[in-house]
Amino acid sequence: MNLLQSLLNLPEPLMGAIGALLITLGMLPVAAMLVLWERIFLGKLTQRPGPNRVGPRGLLQTIADALKLLTKEDFTPKDADRILFFLAPLIFIVPSFLVFAVVPFGHFGGTHGPVLIADLRTGIFFMVAVFSLHTVGILMAGWASNNKYSLLGGIRGVAQAISYELPLIFSFLGILILSGSMSTVDIIKAQGGGLHNWFFLAQPVAFLVYLACSVAEVNRVPFDIPEAESELVSGFNTEYSGMRFAMFFLAEYVSLFATAAIATIVFLGGWLAPFPEPAVITGSTLGYFFWSAGWFLLKVFTLVTLAMWVRGTLPRLRADQLMDFAWKFLVPVVLVNLFVTGLLALWGRWAVAGGLWLALLLWALYGQSRAAKAERRQVVY
């Protein structure tokens, strides 16, 4: 907020408070839009019309849903732990908003600085640390509900979060080696110059691992065992209704947006365009703000849509398969990725990218031949 700070000339805590207010108010319509888009997109995937009743082409559907949830009775079960039951949605929702403190939504161009609340030197570390807090909310909600299905959901949520946070954090470590900084702004600046410098090309393995882990982090299909409808009714939020359920629902979509934003910053070059930016745009402050914010939101939106696409495609994993996948596959893969990145970083970024892509290619060829062989063997028997 360098430019705004110099323009308004307010003390830093006040600027931070204004930014927090803007983020909180701005995320509500974004979450409503994501809910609507998810329903429309899932409808398209299954050849249904999706919401089409409220407002023109169903565009007001989420507003109607929100009003319904707000006016519903806010019910607390008889033997619930009232304090924890009240606190759980808050603890669940706050971390998803906190993440945006270090998310640069765009840039004012030149020396005016990026559009963000705080450029922490430990930006990525802050994000990951804060983001894992909502697990506490899940366990709290499950425990306080005094319902065995909710408790099971909460316990599953914690087990899943512990398993998937490890590969998620490790997938960032290769990036930190390449960029040499933990600040979100520095990481984006390290990817400047065009598409070929974005880190998802230099770290393809880490990018794929992050995509899988981020879906697990926000408890979405296929990693939604904490709220598996067919097994646990609705998991940790079974007993919640009305406003408090709306908070869980809102937090889920804000988290989805947050994970996509993190992926955009770390792997897809944040606010940068995929080609060298023309001087006409970089010269004008306001023009570059809209240009950069547009690219940022476009990338985030693409990643969110990818998550919805996956939701429309894959079935839910079993709890033990989930643990297997995290501990026996993702963790070794990111460790090898980190090791290879560390070795190759000595010879420069291109060597890293080339080495990792070569490894992916070799793996695909190997897997293809083995799979074909296994198929042939099955035919013989």
Binding site: G43, K44, L45, T46, Q47, R48, P49, N52, W309, V310, G312, T313, L314, K328, F329, W363, A364, Y366, G367, Q368, R370, A371, A374
Partner: protein, 186 residues
């Protein structure tokens, strides 16, 4: 089967799945938005039974009670009386739609036929019509008497000889359902 091969197969399966679901985005939707859009009914659609009238507007029923006897839920009640010309007159013909299961046995067993009608059961006195919107506020509203059954047969019945089996025919008709309901109340 080692880890790398399994991982490859998993990745391949996910990619194939994503491709499959994406294919469906490009296809046209299968949902028909019912109250606004109505699907085409097959000619042999079995809806509410009705009594299609002849040219003078009377029922062609001869009062043999075959349909009342064969009806599995026993929802047809016919009262007849002998007129002065010693012919049976249909005093009332009741189909209780609360009970009717729309099996079509009444239509099958009906001895009345017509030569110019080329449908499966040509010119039956009682026919299953294309009326399927029969919501009502009480059970009494769903007990249909002779004039209402004639109206149903008139408005919703298969049109003789024009409507060959297998040809789809658009059902209309909430406007007409309202009409039938008004008759029922009266």
């Amino acid at each position: 089967m080692d880890v790398l091969t399994r991982a490859f197969q998993g990745a391949k399966a996910i990619a194939e799945g994503l491709a499959t679901t994406f294919k469906h985005v490009t296809r046209s939707q299968v949902t028909i938005g019912y109250p606004e859009v109505r699907s085409e009914l097959p000619a042999a659609f079995r809806g509410m039974p009705g009594l299609p009238p002849d040219k003078s507007g009377n029922t062609t029923c001869i009062g043999c009670l075959a349909c009342a006897r064969v009806c599995p839920p026993q929802c047809i009640f016919i009262t007849t009386s002998k007129g002065e010309d010693r012919k049976l007159r249909i005093d009332d013909f009741i189909v209780d739609a609360n009970l009717c299961i729309m099996c079509g046995l009444c239509e099958e067993v009906c001895p009345v036929t017509s030569k110019e009608d080329k449908t499966d059961y040509p010119g039956r006195a009682i026919q299953l019509t294309h009326l399927y919107e029969m919501s009502a506020y009480c059970h009494e509203d769903l007990v249909f008497h002779l004039p209402q059954l004639i109206a149903i047969g008139q408005e919703f019945g298969r049109q003789k000889s024009k409507d060959l089996p297998g040809q789809p025919r658009t059902a209309c008709y909430s406007r007409l359902a309202v009409h039938v309901k008004e008759l029922t109340r009266g």
